[in-house]
């Protein structure tokens, strides 16, 4: 019985082609994210392995990496180096110290891509290999010498002997370029810029006088590393960890990979969405094929095949298709991993890379997922195949099995009601299903809503597709009308095809509504929440937590400025979860608008904090409550809740600048709010600040409108990334549209033949099919937009407490999007339409 399976697949190859492609693409995306993740992880491993090459022992203060914000570390006294050096078996010991160091190129602009960080460190004056190789020039010695990485050297067109301005967190100096450094054969580490100084210069420059971040040693050839580690542990202060160089490299790679792990997860979510979309296409194809083969299946049944054998036959077919497509998908995944890297780079995320890493695990997971998804999707059609009655072999017409209208309406409405109900309970009453967190409940509710809409969709499809095609009917004689009727003809097929598109479009719409609403919220914050006219912030988000406080000190002195508020940001563990901590001086609290305050937000001192009403309520805090905070540098501290506030411009935990200074090592301003003196125009004010800002190239001073548009750009960059990642789901769904069109052309071959015989031109046939395809695509897009708006509305309503005050629907975008997807549907049908138009009229009429 299975001997014919392979032949059946080959005979159906055109019908299966699109299914094959959609499985392969879905699997490629899954494999691609794994490959990308593994490759990035491997790159970091190589990076740290290289950095620790030649290091036998690493000595470093232990700290809670969860509490480390923007590269914060805990340092130790450099006197420890001497203690370590004295331990028997230690050959050579040296300290490492580093921080952010922005190199200003000869053009006055910051060197590097802008997306990757700017690092600085010391080049230890030791004989051992420290991971840095001198490409040209000499090692920096003395307070005015610097070496830079090879990529920056070439990228900025530098020459040895050039004078470079370099900025650290709170220092700025000019250095003479004395050397060019490489890193184990590479000229750059993941696109970051690197500036290297001698140890004392680095300590001063990075505000670490008498301190180092870590100590590295080599051991003598006769010593045993493990023994030396034990001996070194004896002499270092408490809280300092001694490990082998190798495990330090692994540990640091692991920490970085943990931090970027969210990225892989984020990508995988989109990969699974794409695969989910392809299930609709797989299931649709097998359903159609089963219907089209009803007579053949019925004949098998009439000849004595059992129902189970028929099911199994279809399942074996799907197994082979799934398996072969998945294997090809893994191959495509390698290409896609490269594509993902480019996409993330465009979105400003540059990560180090190495040769593509295809692990056995990736291959197994991708093939397994692809095959299982295919099998599951084909199961219901396979079951239906078994229900073909032997008598159907004798029937001439193709059977169109119709489910009950009422049954479908009932189940669809029930699913939809359940989904929406659960959604509201989860979002607004914080009710969750037993054993599920609220977020999972909301996810499940969204899924039920999607299923409800999908179930009801066949009932709405005939009306909506007719309505969508209506504008084209008068434009195109009968072809428009035929397309209109054809798209409304198999509501279930149209609905299933549209559903695949609906999912991708719904997610895009959610993202678009979120982006527009975030933009609306930002506008709202600036318009009603902030009274400062100018705001200073870091030029580049990756150059550290902020910029030197000297900037604010200088600006505060000029007469055009009436008030200046300093704002800093870091993280701490509050009530067992890591939260952002905002800090500001009293002037800052004057420059943002509070709609309502209980207690106080200014004058909190070192022991008080304030929080917005909603957060207080969620944590069940009352004024006067003593709350435990855990900081990276100072450990557990208790702060008293002294103020509750509501402000369009701020939310979350707020402490005074004094408390910030007491608990955090680096003192950098994240933002400086500037209120101009009375009578000073915006332009005059900006002109007055400009000469100061020029001295601080990492600072950007902008008025509210400029900031709004900057933030808009950032929001849309993220939106672009999400759209890019959803493009695969959309592409698969469009292949699904082409697939459905191909299969319905196949079913309607005789009809097309008749139309051609009585005088429809080839062009007319093409136009009819393309329009039908466009209408199906537009229908899916409209459902998706409607669903997306609804889900975004519900989510935004639930996130009101988090500061999402606005709900903005970007109508223009959405309408243009629907039209565009309709157009893409037309494009998707170009090839099937061309094939249909080329059908031989006589063969078509004689077709069964």
């Amino acid at each position: 019985m299975y001997r014919t399976t392979w032949k059946t697949i080959l005979a159906n190859k055109r019908r299966l082609l699109n299914t094959f492609i959609s499985i392969a693409f879905g699997v490629a995306f899954i494999a691609g994210t794994f490959i990308y993740g593994d490759t990035t992880a491997k790159a970091f491993e190589n990076l740290f392995a290289n950095a620790f090459a030649g290091v036998d022992i690493n000595v470093q203060p232990e700290f809670d990496s969860e509490l480390s914000f923007a590269g914060d570390t805990v340092r130790m006294a450099d006197s420890v180096i001497e203690d370590v050096q004295r331990v028997g078996g230690v050959e050579e010991a040296w300290g490492s110290v580093g921080g952010f160091a922005v190199i200003i190129g000869p053009d006055g602009e910051q060197a590097g891509s802008g997306g990757a960080p700017s690092f600085g460190a010391n080049w230890p004056d030791v004989r051992a290999d420290t991971g840095f190789d001198l490409i040209s020039g000499a090692r920096p010695t003395g307070p005015t010498e610097v070496a830079v990485d090879g990529s920056t050297f070439e990228g900025e067109d530098l020459a040895l002997g050039d004078t470079l301005l370099i900025l650290s967190a709170d220092d700025r100096r000019e250095f003479t370029l004395i050397g060019v450094v490489g890193f184990g054969g590479e000229t750059s580490i993941g696109g970051a810029t690197f500036a290297l100084f001698d140890t004392v210069t680095a300590q001063v420059f990075f505000n670490a006088e008498g301190q180092v971040d870590s100590i590295q040693t080599t051991v003598t050839s006769e010593a045993d590393v493990a023994d030396v580690i034990t001996a070194v542990q004896e002499v270092v202060p408490a809280g300092v960890v001694v490990t082998s160089g190798q495990s330090a490299a692994e540990e640091q790679a692991r920490q970085v990979n943990d931090q970027i792990g969210f990225l892989t997860t984020f990508l995988q979510v989109f990969a699974f969405i794409a695969l989910f979309v392809s299930t609709f296409i797989i299931s649709n194809t097998f359903r159609i094929i089963v219907v089209q083969r009803t007579r053949e299946l019925a004949l098998l049944r009439a000849l004595g095949a059992t129902a189970r054998q028929v099911t199994r036959m279809v399942m074996v077919e799907s197994l082979i298709v799934g398996l072969v497509a998945s294997v090809i998908g893994v191959g495509l995944g390698l290409l896609l991993a490269i594509g993902l890297r480019s996409l993330l780079e465009v979105a400003g995320l540059t990560l180090p890379s190495t040769s593509l890493q295809l692990s056995v695990q990736t291959v197994v997971i991708a093939i397994l997922v692809g095959t299982v998804v295919t099998l599951v999707s084909a199961f219901i059609p396979a079951r239906r195949a078994s229900r073909v009655a032997p008598v159907e072999a004798m029937r001439i017409d193709m059977p169109g099995r119709r489910g009950s209208f009422a049954k479908r309406a009932f189940w669809g409405t029930a699913l939809l009601a359940l989904g929406v109900g659960l959604l509201f309970l989860g979002l607004f009453a914080d009710v969750s299903l037993p054993g599920l967190p609220v977020i999972a409940t909301v996810g499940l509710a969204s899924l039920l809503t999607v299923l409800g809409v999908t179930t009801l969709s066949p009932l709405a499809a005939p009306f909506l597709t007719r309505w969508l095609a209506a504008p084209f009917v008068p434009l195109s004689n009968i072809t428009g009308r035929l397309a209109q009727e054809n798209s409304a003809r198999s509501p279930r097929r149209t609905a299933a095809t549209a559903a695949a598109l609906m999912i991708g479009v719904a997610l895009m719409s959610i993202a678009a509504v979120f982006a527009a609403s975030i933009q609306g919220t930002i506008d709202e914050i600036f318009d009603t929440g902030i009274t400062a006219e100018l705001i200073a912030q870091p030029q580049n988000a990756f150059s550290g937590q902020g910029f030197t406080t000297a900037f604010a000190d200088d600006v505060e002195l000029i007469p055009e400025v009436s008030e200046l508020g300093r704002f800093r940001q870091n993280i701490a563990r509050v009530n067992e979860s890591v939260e952002f901590i905002a800090a500001g001086d009293d002037s800052f609290t004057n420059l943002i608008v509070f709609d309502r305050v209980e207690g106080q937000v200014a004058g909190l001192g070192t022991i008080g904090f304030a929080v917005d009403f909603a957060t207080a309520e969620n944590n069940e805090w009352a004024l006067g409550e003593s709350v435990e905070f855990e900081f990276l540098q100072t450990g557990v501290q208790r702060l008293e809740l002294q103020g509750l506030y509501e402000s369009p411009g701020a939310n979350g935990v707020f402490i005074s600048l004094e408390a910030y200074e007491a608990n955090y090592a680096e003192q950098l301003d994240s933002q400086v709010y500037i209120k101009l003196a009375e009578g000073v125009s915006l332009d005059t004010g900006k002109a007055a600040i400009a000469p100061i800002a020029e001295l601080y190239p990492t600072v950007k001073v902008a008025d509210q409108e400029e900031l709004k548009s900057d933030l808009e750009t950032q929001t849309f960059q993220v939106l672009g990334l999400i759209f890019g990642l959803l493009a695969m789901a959309l592409l698969i769904a469009l292949i699904g549209v082409a697939n459905t069109i191909t299969l319905s052309i196949f079913e309607r071959t005789r009809e097309i033949g008749l139309l051609r015989a009585i005088g429809l031109t080839r062009r007319g046939v093409r136009r009819m099919i393309r329009l039908e395809s466009g209408v199906i695509a537009a229908y899916g897009a409209i459902l998706g937009v409607a669903l997306g708006i609804f889900l975004a509305w519900a989510l935004l309503l639930a996130l009101r407490d988090q500061g999402f005050s606005q709900f903005v629907i970007p109508w223009l975008w959405l309408v243009v999007g629907v039209a565009l997807i309709g157009f893409l549907g037309v494009i998707a049908a170009i090839l099937p339409a061309r094939r249909a138009a080329k059908l031989n009229v006589l063969d078509a009429i004689a077709h069964e």
Binding site: N477, I478, T479, R481, L482, E485, N486, A488, R489, R750, E751, L754, L755, R756, A757, I758, G759, L760, T761, R762, R763, G764, V841, L842, I845
Partner: protein, 250 residues
Amino acid sequence: MTNDIRAANGSDAARIENGSKLYGEGTARITALDGVTEGFESGKFTAIMGPSGSGKSTLLHCLAGLDTLTQGVVYIGEQLLDGLSDRELTLLRREQIGFIFQAYNLIPTLTAEENIVLPQLISGVTPDRDWLDQVVSTVGIGDRLTHRPAQLSGGEQQRVAAARALASRPKIVFADEPSGNLDSKAGAELLEFMRLAVSEFGQTIVMVTHDPIAASYSDRIVFLEDGRVVDEMADPTAERILDRMKLLGV
């Protein structure tokens, strides 16, 4: 053979000159038509008969511009089909030729009326209302016009198809076993209507059939065997046809 071509006879609605049609290559070569020359007179109902494989359907398809001859030429009226592009052939079929097929004659998504005027809808011209009413009432489906094909009986469907073939007042109507799928009563009604179309409206019809009763509605029968015209019969009756068929060894 090209020197043998002469202008189509003015009274022929369709004409085939020295038409041959070959399928396949080498030993698998089949000669479906073998030097057929035949005219189909305007205003007459001609039946083409012959055993299975005699080439009668091929002849019809070539006459209708649905298939091309390997050799020889076909005229529809004065128009030589040879050398027409697919688009020109399509327009010719739309404007000058009507079709009635054995089965699957209608577009299921359109109403009976829309099916009838489909060729006009395709070309975007307004159908001649009076003529349409006349055709519809003659064919006897006036009360079924808003129905879809699935709601019509087989006989009704074929009559709608016949009405469609006449609606554009084509130069010639080709029918391929039009009553083949119908019971005898429905078949008789359809053939009666076709007969009426010829005698009352002056329509030209060429019909392929293997049914002597169906053929008896025609003015003239052309007998085909092995791709050649072997005989013809004017004013046939069912008995005479049967006798002739026995003679031809069908």
